[in-house]
Symmetry: none
Subunit: 232 residues, 4 copies
DNA sequence: CATGAATGAGCCTTCATTCAT
DNA sequence: GATGAATGAAGGCTCATTCAT
């Protein structure tokens, strides 16, 4: 589990009702079990055991196994988007924001291959994950277009390229099949695919990645902006 | 099942020993069952029943369910690559060959969404599929690079972009989430990502797709050329 | 099933938690099924059916079929040893205790051939059974040695003779191959093999067998004595 | 496989019709497979493969798996008895013959634990084995009685003791549970059980074991003598 | 709410045996 | 007689889900 996310994911949530706290523990346990066994290989009994509860309790919170995947997907997507958005604070250029986002996912796959594979697995089982992330990506895409940095044949085509490429790159990296610097190079390809000049694409993709801010500091103002674009 | 492939896939194979004929029937049955239920949802008993045999027979040919997926993956990859390669007869431009390949996969997802989802499902369960296709894509990529049509940061990055984008586009199309003309537009994005000028990319991507030749005619000479690039 | 054991084996266990009660029922059912079909011929489904439960429940209590055999072995060994030890109350002579033990096993094979064959079958599948009994036999053996009634080349040789002979005699008796009085004569042979004079051996082996006391009466004080010798 | 038996068991049989030769090969293969997997764990397909044949061929020679066990049992018993009898050439004392036989079995378990366990397994699955051996043991027993060396309560009791003790000792030795010199000590116990004086029993059991003669030399005259006693 | 024993449908897999070639 | 593909009945085992306590 990448540290940058671990802090967010495992952080005990104060001020939550007991029911909600139990639910969070279950989702955290599910992440562990999915990471170890994959979604298909995970069992509700192991999930319960890891959470220190019983199967009955799990079913008090989730009607089915799929619903657990859903909850995990939502938590993962939310955490990922929030953290990445926080790290983009103050960056106004759509192209750079896009490059940062793309590379962060690939970077996470380097930091924790197991976790990346689990995320891809969950994304396949619970489409909510991609849907949740979609808005953030779309916001950066549209920003880039508005700033005349991008020119795309269609938003749908661009989104498929971005999502598909990143997913595949995460897999390659997690499986140890990718050469060094893969993140930079993949980001370069994507920026080009979005219509940037080769040189400009490369320059943007090679800018240093802004670090994740300490948890609790970033105003998360951008998150709202992204949310506004939701399903729009 | 898209007609263009059906002919190849279901064609009875003459001159095969009995054992081999049974095996082919089993693989064909597996394709049907995987299409109907997905890999995870398929059962060996249904597979056997659809093939008109017994479970024991299935296990005489495949040690495990995964091995069935493997065989299906190989047949699918082989058929796809052979048919597409055949349709590319006489096309010497790497960029156009790439555009044709990319669009054909997406076109297939339009023609038969179920089949496309099955193929993606099998690809996830049996990595052999992608590996088999890889050589063909790589040959076109290298051809384009040699012809100065493409300029890529790294082959690995380019391949991840191509594979990832096409897979995601197939999914979008199969699920009915893509706008009309998605194939053209996605291909345009990919060509750009490979380093082409926007205008050139669009022009190539919008050329008419060459039809599949009738089965048995194409000399499959290209296939050998591609094979030569194999693992090179 | 010999009455003398049936009372112990089938006696419903009061004051047990639900889980434990279910487990006992399953073991009792297993004894029935093993008796009817042998260990190899027994199936988990029949076991479940006889216990009035489902296969899933069986697997909630025993991970594998072997584990069932183990549980049966332990129960059988425990019951046998406890009942026989109870019947030996107040008998201080090692030689006589040995003769009683030996003859009781053979006597049980007479009373219930099916049950004897099942026990031998389970003993082959689950060595725990013999291991459990071992301590009791060893205690009597050592007692006899201490009392100068026995003189053996080695404990290991003596134990192999005792166990092997009794097992074979049980089989002969259960299969109806043994002449009348087999128990007495086999016991005589064993006592001789342990170093007793022929006349003394015969005399001891022909003493009347003490009856099993009613269940619940015997203080089982001896059991502790035997247990003390455990693995010593 | 103990060398002393290997020579006999694997020796190609000249002057046998083809059918008979095939059969012998199958039995030899069965011995290998039973040794590796046990009777229950052996499959007809592996047996066929090891013999370099097909399952159909196996069924041309044996109606069922049990029949294979039978054939193996007969070959084992015959080989064992013949070789041991050969080694007893010229020994006229029943007690010594008995001691030699007993110790040889235990010695074989030392030489080749796998083989011993296989033999015990086959003996359990095919009672023919013990029945075949029975006559040889019985002959020595009766000889000893006639010579006043033994005095037994009943032949049946004595036979159960001999068979049971040897089988158990073989198991102990094969499993590595027996102390050094176990064969001698067990034989001593058995001789005592047959009525010999402790000192005499020990003396006889500690005489050196006569070696196996080279194959083909021994007239096997005793074998006929033993056979005469068969089922007598 | 939590518990956790029980459920039961159903899956993958094995293998002795048959039979057309 | 040999072949070996096909059979098919069964068996061990899993696990999402329910429900009485």
């Amino acid at each position: 589990m990448p540290d940058a996310l671990a802090e967010s994911l495992w952080r005990p949530q104060p001020g939550l009702a007991k029911r909600e706290r139990t639910r969070v523990q279950l989702v955290q346990a599910a992440i562990q079990v999915f990471t170890a066994r994959g979604f298909a290989g995970a069992t509700m009994q192991e999930l319960a055991a890891v959470a220190g509860m019983t199967t009955g309790t799990v079913y008090n919170h989730f009607k089915t196994k799929e619903e657990v995947a859903s909850a995990v997907a939502l938590l993962l997507a939310d955490t990922l988007c929030r953290r990445i958005t926080d790290s983009q604070q103050g960056i106004a250029e759509g192209a750079q924001r896009m490059a940062i986002g793309n590379q962060r996912y690939i970077w996470l796959a380097e930091q924790s291959p197991q976790w990346a594979l689990m995320t891809l697995d969950v994304a396949a089982a619970a489409p909510e994950l991609l849907l949740e992330i979609r808005d953030y990506v779309l916001a950066d895409l549209r920003l880039g277009v508005k700033q005349k940095a991008f020119r795309v044949p269609s938003e749908a085509a661009a989104m498929d390229m971005i999502n598909g490429t990143i997913a595949q790159a995460m897999r390659s990296v997690a499986l140890g099949l990718a050469p060094p610097n893969h993140g930079r190079e993949v980001a370069t390809c994507v920026l080009r695919g979005l219509g940037m000049e080769p040189a400009a694409a490369k320059e943007v993709a090679y800018r240093p990645l802004p670090p994740f801010p300490p948890i609790g500091e970033a105003p998360a103002a951008r998150a709202k902006g992204a949310a506004r674009a939701k399903r729009g």
